[in-house]
Structure formats: C-alpha cells, structure tokens
Amino acid sequence: MRPPAIRVEALTLSYDGQAAVSGLSGSFAPGSLTAIAGPNGAGKTTLLRALAGLHRPDAGRIRIDPPAKHPIALLPQASQLDRGFPISCMEMVALGHWVRIGAFRGQTAAMHEAVRAALDAVGLTQLAARPVGSLSAGQFQRALFARMIVQDAPVLLLDEPFNAVDERTAADLLDLVLGWHAAGKTVIAVLHDLRLIERAFPETLLLAGTAIAWGPTPACLTPANIRRAGVGMQAWEELPLDRAPARQAVAALQRRPAA
C-alpha cells in the first residue's frame, strides 16, 4: 500500500498561547525519510502532533492526499505514557491493533501472530510477559516500536525515538527505521543528532518557528542554515553506529541514487 503524500499549507500552530510554528508550507513525499531538526522550542513536537491530528492548527491546513483511514502512527516520547500501568509488554504491543479491533472485537490468530513477530523484531520475545513498568527505558522504547510495527500504518511519525536509550538499542531501532524506509513507508522523525541525520536521513526539515530549510539533507544542513536555526553542531551527541547491521543499512542507503 503506497503511503499518501502529506502536504502542509501555510500552517500556523501555537502551544500554550505561544506561537510555535508559523506559515509552514511544503510536503512530505510518499516513501520519504525525513528528519525534523531544530533548537528547543522550535515547534518540532507540536508539528508532529499536528500531523498526527492531536493538535489543531491555528491557521493553514494539513492535507493527506489521497485521504486514508488511520494513515498515521505516532511514536510519542516515552515520558508521555504512564509507564507504571500494570499491563504486560505483550498486551501493550497488542494495543497496536486498536484501529482494526476497536474496543470490543477480539484478536484473530493472525493478529496474535503479528504481535509475536513484532516482539521478535525488537528483541523482546523473552520479556513478553513482563509488566511494562519493569522494563528499562531502552526496552520500553523497543516495546513502543513493536506497537508501531503492529499498527502497520503507511506513515510513521517518531518523536525523538533514540532519546534516553542505550547505544545498542538506538542502533537496533535505527535499523528498524531504515527497514521501514526500505519497505516504502513514509517516515518523519524529530531528531537532535545532526551527524546521525547526515548519515542516515535523506531529507531534512530544519525548523525554528518556521522552515529554515526543507529538502535533501546535504543542501539543508549547511553551516549557514545551522547557524540561522540557532542549533550548534557541537551541542549534539553523536549516536555511534558501530554495530554491523546498522552500518550496512546506512551504507546501503547511501549507495542508492538520490531521490
């Protein structure tokens, strides 16, 4: 299923009465892999929530073209969730089926199998029965990724997916992101690490209240643009890509002709 294009037209968003994003226009092409970068308070999370339909625009609009039912899955920052809630890892992952089964229908055998496969893909099979409250930050983030796999939406929005997780988890999760991209899904991620963006994300939206630059990453992340956006390269921690699968995935990505 080919993902829809997401067009943003003169979008203005405010957060707590303060303007967060103003007059943003552009589009995320179907199948693109875009990083959203910018300083704190640049409106990155607000934009992501607006794309997911959780934040009403003050002006302008967001068009999903062609319109689809539940086209978007959002990976929230883990701090947005109540991690002490006493359900098991597997149950939380299974909630990804919500759009298909709603409040009352049961899981089919195939859906159950999809949950198992997702747990396997993020390496949590052994911990499936554990309560989510007992998972480490990295394991919990893996579980959220598994829920997203189960959701199986054509457009994936990730809010700081590699924050506060260990290096190994970050590399594994990056693999998943690159895998989604290879499978033709549209992926949009809020990220801090400019070096990671340069290495793994073909498109970038550099945001500071409005778009400083939006397009192919090398053209976006020029020193002049980064200075204009007010983010310092040295301020970001580098995500080590020292695991072979992640390195290969990135290398494969770089070998591909530029879209």
Binding site: A52, L54, D82, W98, F104
Partner: protein, 272 residues
C-alpha cells in the same frame, strides 16, 4: 444481618474494580469528591419525595454526575491544579448537603452520613444488587479503551478513540457505585469499601486483572470481617467494615507479596 452481608457482597463486586482504575489513573481524590458531591442530590431527593430510597438515589446519581463534570471542566478551564479544584468542590458540596438536610424535619442526618447497613431493606438491597449488575458488565465493556486511555491517551486520540467519552462512562459507573454504597455505609464512608481494597490490591498482584480480582476478594473479606466484628463487639457496621478493609490494606502494605515494607526490608527482587 443476612441482607447486610448480601448488600456488602454486591458492593464488593461493583466498587473495588472501579477503585483499582481510580488508583491507577491517579484519581483517588475523585472518589472523595463524588461521595461528598452526591449529598446535595440526596438532600434534594429527600425534599422532593421524603425518605424514598429511589428518590434519594436518583438525586445522588444526578448530583454526582454534575459534580464530576464540574470538577473536570474547572480543571480544564482554569488550567489549575486538579486537586485543589476538587477539594474546593467537595467541601462546598458537603456543606451544602448537610445544610439542606438539616433544614428538613424528620431526617436522621447521621443515618445518611454514616449509613445503617444493618437496617438495609429490600429496596436498598435491590438497588445495591442493581448497581453491581450494571457496574461490572459496564467496566467490562469499557475495559480496553479505558486501559488505553490511562496508558497512552495520545494514542487513543490519534486513532479516533474519543477518550473523553470513555472517561465519562467510567465516571458514571463510579457515581453509580458510590450511590449504591451510601445506603449501607453512608455518604461519608461509601467509598471506603471501594478504595481501600483497591489500594491494597497492588500489594498482591502485578497485573491489572490480578489487582481487580484481589480487590474484590479483599472487599468481600472486609465485609464479612466487619459484619462479624460489628455483631460480636457491638460496633456500628459501616465503620467496622471500613476498618476491616483498612486492616487488610495495612497487612498488604506491611507483608504483601509486592511492593510491601517487608519486601523492601529484605530487598527481594521482584518479578511479575
């Protein structure tokens, strides 16, 4: 006595599972608000139709729903801290209710405030059983969306889940259960049998279903112990039941298999 036991078992089935969700959603204070909030409604019911149980119950349910919505709206509208708004609402409701009831002749205020479980008649028993019959299947119906709304409200909202609707349905069930409890335990203690077993349950199970089951078992145990204690020691039944529930909570807190003081002392690692 047998009526009292049957009534308390009905309440033990209806209330504690809802209490578990109140605790998990950090809404424990809401139960206090509701138990005080129903008092003006009960007073209105008594004014309109005398001491008819149905009139007072209906008034209580309506007042409880109003208070629940008022408290929710106040919190959203002022952006203030929820607990202070709730405290304001329930203190006002309690004063208003007591004033309204005192203004009427022939109303035994302490009966309404503290209940008289041993004087439960068939009507009240029927009502408590009715509450249990609605509250349990009701909770089962909203089980999944309620979990999702508690765990990750953004996910529910992003996927067309109408979180507010489930929240409201949940509050309606809580109101029903609080009103069901008032005949037996009085408005000041109706929540005791609902919250104490729910708070204790987390010391007995790590899973949601386990906590719900534990809360029901604890509540029934507290009812039986409380009624026996009230009979043999000549205590008022309502406080005896709530005290028993409190005793079970203390035992769970001190010696329970999970997150208890004993566990902490021994530093036993916890799995599941």
């Amino acid at each position: 006595m047998r009526r009292a036991l049957a009534g308390c078992i009905a309440l033990s089935l209806a209330g504690p599972p809802l209490g578990v969700f109140l605790v998990l959603r950090r809404m424990s204070l809401m139960s206090d608000v509701l138990q005080h909030g129903i008092l003006p409604g009960i007073a209105l019911g008594a004014m309109a139709a005398g001491l008819s149980f149905w009139a007072m119950g209906l008034g209580g349910v309506l007042a409880g729903l109003c208070v629940a919505m008022l408290a929710g709206w106040l919190t959203r509208a002022t952006g203030g801290r929820e607990d202070s708004q709730l405290a304001g609402v329930y203190l006002l409701a309690l004063a208003l209710g007591v004033a309204m009831l005192s203004a009427q002749r022939g109303v035994d205020l302490s009966n309404l405030l503290f209940g008289s479980v041993l004087a439960v008649d068939d009507t009240a028993l029927l009502c408590m059983a009715g509450v249990a019959c609605v509250a349990l299947p009701g909770l089962a119906l909203i089980w999944r969306p309620l979990i999702l709304e508690s765990l990750d409200p953004g996910f529910l909202a992003a996927n067309g889940g109408r979180g507010g609707l489930w929240h409201l349905a949940f509050l309606a069930l809580v109101v029903l259960s609080v009103v069901g409890g008032f005949a037996a335990l009085g408005t000041l203690m109706s929540v005791g049998l609902m919250m104490l077993p729910a708070i204790a349950a987390r010391h007995f199970s790590a899973t949601l279903a386990g906590q719900v089951r534990a809360s029901v078992v604890l509540a029934i145990l507290a009812s039986v112990l409380g009624l026996l204690g009230s009979y043999h020691l000549d205590l008022p039944a309502g406080p005896a039941i709530v005290l028993s529930a409190g005793g079970l909570w203390a035992i769970g807190l001190a010696l329970g298999p999970r997150e208890s003081l004993l566990r902490r002392l021994r530093r036993v690692p916890e799995f599941g």
